[in-house]
C-alpha cells in the first residue's frame, strides 16, 4: 500500500467491483461493415444495420469473437458456447431500442486477474456486446434533465465491446488502480484494443460499497459512471466510500443506484435509480445464431497468446530481488526482454532492473542493446564507474548509442584507485578527529549523520568521482 492510500475510518472496509468496457480494435463494427473508427464527422459510419432500419439483419464479425475469446483466455476464463441477447430500453443512443449483448450465456466466465503485487481479483464474466451512439444534450447547461433537445451521432453505435466484470474482491484504491493498469497491459499485450481511457476505448464503472471490518456481507452498492482516468477513479471511489460511511454513521443507508462522477466538483450525484434486471426484458437474439467454439478453436486461441505481463514479471522476479514496483515498470515499458538478455550476458540482475526503472524512462531506448547494457552494469558493479557516473553514461548511451567504455573515457571518468581513496579517507579522519569519534562511538543516528559528513567531504574532494559504496566500506572497516 502506498503512503498516500486514503483510508476509511478503522472500523470500515471498502468493497469494490469494476466493470470495464473495452472497445475491440477491429476494422469494422460488430454486426455490419461500417468502419470501427473514431470520426469527428458525425453519422458518416452508419448503415441500415447500425441504424436499426426495418428489414436489416446483423451478421457477426468473426474477428470480434476471436478477440473476445482471446481476452477471455488471457483472463483465465472458461470460454464456451454463448448466445447473443437483446437488452431492451428506450433511449435514443440505440436506434433499435435494444442493445445486442450477452446475458445468461456469456462467452467467458470465471477467470482471475493477478495484480502486480500478487493480489488476485476474480473475474465473473467477460461478455460481447455492441457500443451505443453518442448523445449531446443541448440547452439547460448540457444536463440531461434540463435539455431542450438532444443530438445523436451513431458512428459509435455497433462498435464491438467486451465488458469485463470483476468480482467484488477489491479492498483498496491502490488495488482498483492496479487492476485497471493490469487489464490495460494485458489488452495491449494481446493486441485486441488500444485501451486508451482518455479516448474512451477503455471505460471503467466502479461498484462501491462499504462494510464493517470483519463482516463478509455485501451491502448496498452504488455504480459510479463517467470515470475518465485511473486517477479520477481513485478519487471517485474514495468519495463514494466515505459517503456511504457517513450515511451509515448517521443512521441512514445508501440506496442502490447509478451515480455520476463529477470530476470538477469532486463529488458523485444520483443518476437514474437502477432498473431491475427484469425490466430490460432480456431475451435471446433471434437474428443471430449461437457461438460454439470447439476445443480446437480454444486451443488455437491459447497457442496464439503471448507471454502475459504477470508471467513476464514472474520471470524477472525469479532472477532478481527487486520490488514489485520495479518489475511492473520494466514490464509495462516492454524493457523486460532487454533486461533478460543483459542478465543472461552476465550483468547483475537487480542493478539492471533498477537502472532501467530509474534511468531509462523514455519512449525510445532502441540504442540500448543487451551487450552494451550488460557492459555498463559490469563497469558499475566492478567499481570502474560510480553510481552517478554510470547514470550519466547510460543517459548518453540511450541518447546517441555507443559503448560505455568509450563514453566513460570521453567524459573523463577514471575510476579512483582504491588506495588513492583510502589515502583520502585517512587524511579526512586525521583532519576531523571529533567527527570521527562521533562516528565510531555515537548512536545509530549519530553514526549515520557522520557517515554522511565524511562521504560528502570525499565527494567534494573528488568532484563526485568516488564510489559511495567503497567509501562506506572503508569507513566501516576503519571504525571497527
Amino acid at each position: 500500500m502506498s503512503p498516500h492510500e486514503p483510508t476509511l475510518p478503522d472500523e470500515w472496509e471498502l468493497v469494490v467491483g469494476l466493470e470495464v468496457h473495452v472497445e475491440l480494435a477491429t476494422r469494422t463494427k460488430l454486426f455490419c461493415g461500417c468502419a470501427n473508427e473514431f470520426s469527428t464527422d458525425p453519422n458518416t459510419n452508419v448503415c441500415p444495420v447500425c441504424l436499426g432500419l426495418p428489414g436489416s439483419l446483423p451478421v457477426m464479425n468473426g474477428k470480434a469473437v476471436d478477440y473476445a475469446m482471446k481476452l477471455g483466455r488471457a483472463l483465465g476464463c472458461e470460454v464456451h458456447g454463448s448466445v447473443m441477447a437483446r437488452k431492451n430500453y428506450f433511449y435514443p443512443d440505440m436506434a433499435k431500442d435494444y442493445q445486442t449483448t450477452q446475458y445468461d450465456k456469456p462467452t467467458s466466465m470465471d477467470g482471475e486477474l493477478v495484480l502486480s503485487d500478487g493480489a488476485v481479483v476474480g473475474i465473473e464474466r467477460a461478455h460481447i456486446e455492441e457500443d451505443a451512439g453518442k448523445t449531446t444534450h443541448i440547452g439547460g447547461g448540457g444536463r440531461i434533465n434540463d435539455a431542450m433537445f438532444s443530438l445523436v451521432d451513431y458512428n459509435r453505435a455497433g462498435v464491438p465491446l467486451v465488458e469485463v466484470v470483476s468480482r467484488p474482491d477489491i479492498r483498496t484504491i491502490d488495488h482498483a488502480k492496479a487492476y485497471v493498469n493490469e487489464l490495460r497491459d494485458i489488452l495491449l499485450a494481446i493486441e485486441v484494443s488500444d485501451a486508451k481511457m482518455e479516448e474512451g476505448s477503455m471505460r471503467v464503472d466502479a461498484n462501491v460499497s462499504v462494510r464493517p471490518v470483519g463482516s463478509e456481507e455485501l451491502r448496498t452498492r452504488c455504480e459510479l459512471k463517467n470515470i475518465n482516468s485511473v486517477r479520477s477513479m481513485g478519487r471517485a471511489i474514495e468519495y463514494e466510500a466515505q459517503r456511504h460511511v457517513d450515511l451509515y454513521n448517521s443512521g441512514e443507508a445508501p440506496r442502490q443506484e447509478t451515480r455520476h462522477w463529477d470530476e470538477d466538483g469532486g463529488r458523485s450525484t444520483p443518476g437514474r435509480s437502477k432498473e431491475d434486471a427484469d425490466d430490460y426484458r432480456y431475451f435471446q437474439e433471434p437474428d443471430l445464431v449461437p457461438l460454439e467454439p470447439s476445443a480446437a478453436d480454444v486451443a488455437a486461441i491459447d497457442a496464439s497468446l503471448p507471454v502475459l505481463p504477470a508471467a513476464r514479471r514472474a520471470r524477472l522476479a525469479d532472477l532478481s530481488g527487486v520490488g514489485p514496483d520495479v518489475l511492473s515498470t520494466v514490464v509495462e515499458r516492454g524493457q523486460d526482454g532487454l533486461a533478460l538478455d543483459a542478465i543472461e550476458a552476465g550483468a547483475d540482475a537487480d542493478k539492471v532492473l533498477t537502472r532501467l526503472q530509474n534511468d531509462v524512462a523514455v519512449d525510445d531506448w532502441s540504442n540500448l542493446t543487451p551487450p552494451l547494457l550488460a557492459a555498463l552494469i559490469r563497469m558499475e558493479t566492478s567499481g570502474e564507474l560510480t553510481a552517478t557516473q554510470a547514470k550519466q553514461v547510460l543517459s548518453d548511451m540511450v541518447e546517441s548509442g555507443g559503448d560505455p567504455a568509450t563514453i566513460a573515457s570521453g567524459r573523463g571518468f577514471e575510476a579512483m584507485e582504491s588506495n588513492e581513496l583510502e589515502g583520502l579517507v585517512d587524511q579526512l579522519i586525521a583532519d576531523n578527529p571529533d567527527e570521527w569519534i562521533r562516528f565510531t562511538s555515537g548512536d545509530d543516528g549519530e553514526q549515520k549523520k557522520m557517515q554522511g559528513f565524511f562521504t560528502g567531504q570525499i565527494m567534494k574532494a573528488t568532484n563526485g568521482q568516488a564510489d559511495g559504496r567503497a567509501i562506506a566500506q572503508l569507513l566501516a572497516a576503519k571504525g571497527s
Binding site: 464479425n61 431492451n88 448523445t135 431542450m148 445464431v289
Partner: protein
C-alpha cells in the same frame, strides 16, 4: 381462474414500452397476458428434463462475416428521412430524467 397478471403489472410494462393505455385496454391486456401465462403453465407442467432447450430454430452455429469494410450510407440521405436533424446529427426530443 384468477388473473396471473395484475393491472399494476400491465401499467408497469406499458410504461417501460412507452405505451399510453386506456383503462379499458389495461383490463383487456391483463386478461390477454394472463391467458398467455396460463398457456405457458400448461407447458411447464410437462416433463422436459431430457430435452435440450432450443436456442435457435435453425440447427446452425458460428455464422461469421470477415472483418472487411463495406460502404456506409450517404449522410444526407440518412438524415433526410429523420423527423429532425441538426449539424449532421439526429435531433431528438428531450430525454427527461432517464439517463442511462
Amino acid at each position: 381462474m384468477s388473473e396471473r397478471i395484475t393491472r399494476d403489472e400491465v401499467i408497469h410494462v406499458a410504461r417501460l414500452a412507452r405505451l399510453d393505455l386506456s383503462d379499458a385496454e389495461i383490463d383487456e391486456f391483463a386478461h390477454q397476458m394472463s391467458d398467455i401465462l396460463d398457456h405457458a403453465a400448461d407447458i411447464e407442467a410437462l416433463d422436459v428434463g431430457d430435452i435440450e432447450p432450443t436456442s435457435h430454430p435453425l440447427p446452425m452455429v458460428n455464422v461469421f462475416r470477415a472483418d472487411e469494410r463495406r460502404p456506409s450510407l450517404d449522410r444526407d440521405e440518412v438524415l433526410g428521412v429523420a423527423p429532425a436533424e441538426q449539424d449532421g446529427q439526429f435531433r431528438v426530443p428531450p430525454i427527461l430524467g432517464e439517463e442511462r
